[in-house]
Every structure is written in C-alpha cells, then in structure tokens.
Assembly symmetry: C2
Homo-oligomer: 283 residues x 2
C-alpha cells in the first residue's frame, strides 16, 4: 500500500513527486519516460522562474535529470480507472491494480476533443487502452488513432497482435516498426456503427474495422474517476487541491487555466503538502 | 498609470513579473535588489522543479539574471500603504505615490513577531518607514531595529539624520558606515512609554530614546491595505488569487502555507493571468 500514487509526469506530477520525496513518503509516479507531450512540444518558455528562456526540450531534460538525482522512478503505465475502495484508493492500469492511501491526479488536459461517436462506442469497439483490450483484436483489423509520440509503444504492441493496422498519428514524425501498418495522414471525423463501432470516417474516406483504439497521453479525469466533481470541464478543487472525493487530490492543467508550467508546479507542491497533512490525520 | 504594481521581489513577485512581461503589460516591480531575505538564507532547496538541489544563493542569481535578460527592473521602495482610490489603486512609498489599475501583493510573511508595545506605539514614536518619518528625528537619539540586511540602506539614511543611533540588527554580518552608531546584539523585548514610545527594553538593559524604527523587509499586508480580508493571519484569496478588494490580488507566502518556492511561483503566475483578465474586462 503506497502513501500516494501520482498520476501524470507533467510539471504538476513532477513537482508533487519531488515534494513527497523530500517529505520521505512512499509513493508511485505513473506516467511516461517522455514526461509529457506538452513539455516536448514547447518551443520557448519565457516565464518559468529560474530557467531563462528555456526550451521544452531543455526543461524536460532538467526535470528528468532531477528525478534521477533524487532517486525517483517513473512507472510507465496507462491508467484506466481510479476507484474509491472504502478507506483507500485503487488505481487500475489495464490488468494491474495499485493501491494507495491517496492519489494526486496530474493528468493534464487532453487537447484533442473526442471524435463524434467516440464516447458512445467506448467499450463497444472503441478502446483507450492497448494493454487492457489489445488481445480482443488478435488477428483482426483495427484502426489506431494516436495523439502523441509517447504512445507509439502502445501502438506497436497493438500492431504485434492485429492482422492489419490503420495507424492515424495526430503528430509529426510518426514511426512504427511493424510491417502490417498503413499510415493515414488525416483527421478522423466520426466513428460509426450499429451495436458496435464498425467504421472510422475521414473527410474523403471511410475505414471498415473491427475495433478502434484512441491512444491519448492523458485522459479526462472525469472519465477515470467515477463521481469526481467537475467545473467547466476541469476537476473542481479547493485552495488545498482537494477534490470532492476523500483522498483524491488534483494539480496542474486538469484543474483549470492558466495552462502554465509555473502554475502546475505550484499546485503539485500544494497537493503534495495536503497529502502529507491527510496522511498525518489518518494515523 | 501602470496596469499593475507588484509589491515584493520574492518568488511570487518575480513569477508575476515574468508573466506580465510576457503578456506585454506596463507594470512596476517594487522590492529590493536583494530580492528577498528568505531566498538569500535558503541553504538547499530539494524540490524546486527544474533546478536540482539548488542553493538559495544560486536561485537568487538565476532569478536576478532572468529579470535582467527579460528587461525587468526592480524599483527599490518600502511600501507604506495601499489604497483603493475608486477605480484605481494608490501605492504609497514614503512621500511617493504610484498609481495603477491593479496591485499584486507578494509581500511574503514576516518571520519576526511584533515586540510587546510595538503596535500600540506605532505612529507615536514607533515607525516602520525611514523615508516617511526620518526627518522627525533629525538631531535626536533613536533606536533602529533591523530585521534584514536588505534594509541597511534605510538604517544608514536614519544615521545620517539622527545625532545618535542604537542599531539592533536581527541578522548576522551587520555593517553600517556611519560613525554615530552603537551596535546592540540582543533581542528587544518590549517598547515602553506613556503617551509616546520612550524606551526600548532588552533582557538586561533599557535604552532611553526619542524614537524607534522597526525596519522590516516585509510588512503584514493587513497593515498595508485598509479593509483587506485576512484568514488565520494570511490574506484571504480565491483560486484566481483575488482578494476581497477589487483590483487587489495576492500571491505567495502572504496567502498561506505551504511556504514554498514552487507554490509562490505558481500563485504569482495565476495572479498575473487574473490581472490580465481583470484589465481586459475594464477596457
């Protein structure tokens, strides 16, 4: 049982991790060795105090080497659900369940809006999780929509299972190694079907498939955590970064604007301190 | 008329300044070239994201050179009052008044508690402001209690006016150039008098004086801003860093715990964004 599980390796998650480490807590940091799609994409950040006119690449390197220096490991995992288990929290990553006394949601905001039909067919031919549902499509024909290079490993795994893959990367420089992959350079418009998803529709073409994977580097927290209160599309939190669920905290872009590194870093710090208070009260 | 005046050059004030600069606002940054007493004193900061195990001295240098690179100047001033002037804000620094559409309070927390009698005799022989009240003590005998090296210039100014100065530095390596200064290395216990302050009392000695200056690098915002709402000794703010006074925002340690660089930097960023929204609404 961990003291805390931090979900997300953007600026907020990293800030929370550094503070929990400094406070000697036993925690798990779930995310990607790439940290976040947003950091990698930033050209120049002019208002992050302490690092003058820093590039996203440089900031990412600074964060990565700091995590290493502090002995903080990132556990690569795609979180598929966060559940209040009565006194503790269960974090589901495909088949794996991690348990903790508290959770900090630092999942960022998903820049890509759901495609028409995506949410309707979720669980019926549409999946967010390669690890969870990949085996269902062994030997079949699938479409894989991928919003971030950090998710390519998941796409590669799906390509190793499926007979045929239509790969739809929504970023530049996409590259899969598998031979059974057709690249589609277009924006999906809709998902159609009857009882299940059957077709991925583009402006000029339509793909007939057995299943569609939407691989996103971050998921909407409201989709991850049943009962989580939202406000204007963001996780509702108080000044201590508490959500409406006991033991569940949030920080960074997922709690609202401004979408800024400094703001995310500040909220991660506050959330970690509130977790420490929460753990102390529970003892 | 400035768009905004930022009061304080700790982490919160610097973060707000970098963001207002990035947003092209016309603002004034009031503080000290030393930035803040707290930054200078920090030995090692293990949880500031992006700068690994950084010393306070290194962080201060990073902040200073970043301000310089971004063309942001610090105006050295001791703020003595912040007033709602009906549609805009007046910031009083001794004899000088600066006017702005908005103010960000980033004054930090005063670690030194008031001495017994200090608040009772404030304005009656006790002063916080060398520039405002120095002339009243020309040729007289005064005590100057100084909480931070960054305030030594104020003390020097007082020594140039007064006939005799008892100088009580509450930090190491104090050094005044004036010849009429007696150093006292002890903690003041109380201020006594009848209608006016007449004596500064230490554990074993008592000084008879005409006036007492308490030079502090930061003042309690509630003492600066009439009508400002406090909560538990801190400025009450919402998630957007708005105080109860229109056009007055706050960020950093003065808004409450945790007293952390990351938290201060985050709040300064949010406050600056809220100021931008506030200015846009006013147009």
């Amino acid at each position: 049982m961990y003291d805390c599980i931090i979900i997300g390796t953007g600026a907020a998650g990293i800030s929370a991790a550094l503070t929990l480490k400094a406070r000697g807590k036993n925690f798990l940091l779930l995310g990607s060795p790439q940290l976040s799609a947003k950091i990698n994409a930033a050209e120049k950040i002019s208002n992050y105090p302490g690092l003058c006119a820093v590039s996203g690449e440089h900031l990412k390197e600074a964060f990565s080497s700091q995590l290493e220096a502090e002995g903080i490991e990132i556990t690569s995992a795609q979180v598929t659900g966060v559940y209040d288990m009565g006194g503790h929290i269960g974090v589901l990553c495909g088949q794996q369940v991690y348990e903790a006394k508290s959770v900090i949601l630092a999942t960022g905001v998903e820049a890509v809006k759901p495609v028409v039909g995506e949410l309707e067919f979720l669980g019926r031919g549409v999946s967010y999780c390669a690890t969870c549902d990949g085996m269902l499509y062994k030997g079949k024909k699938i479409a894989v929509v991928c919003t971030s290079k950090s998710m390519e490993e998941e796409a590669e795994y799906l390509a190793s299972l499926a007979a045929e893959v239509y790969f739809v990367p929504l970023y530049k420089d996409a590259e899969l190694k598998s031979g059974n992959v057709h690249y589609i350079k277009d924006m999906p418009q809709a998902i159609e079907g009857n009882m299940r998803a059957e077709r991925l529709v583009f402006r000029k073409t339509t793909l007939d498939v057995d299943g569609i994977f939407m691989l996103k580097s971050s998921m909407a927290p409201s989709a991850l955590v049943p009962g989580l209160r939202s406000e204007g599309g963001h996780v509702a939190v108080d000044r201590q970064m508490r959500t409406n669920i006991d033991g569940v905290f949030a920080a960074g872009d997922c709690t609202g604007r401004p979408y800024q590194y400094a703001k995310a870093v500040g909220e991660g710090n506050i959330a970690a301190h509130t977790v420490c208070d929460f753990l102390a009260e529970r003892k």
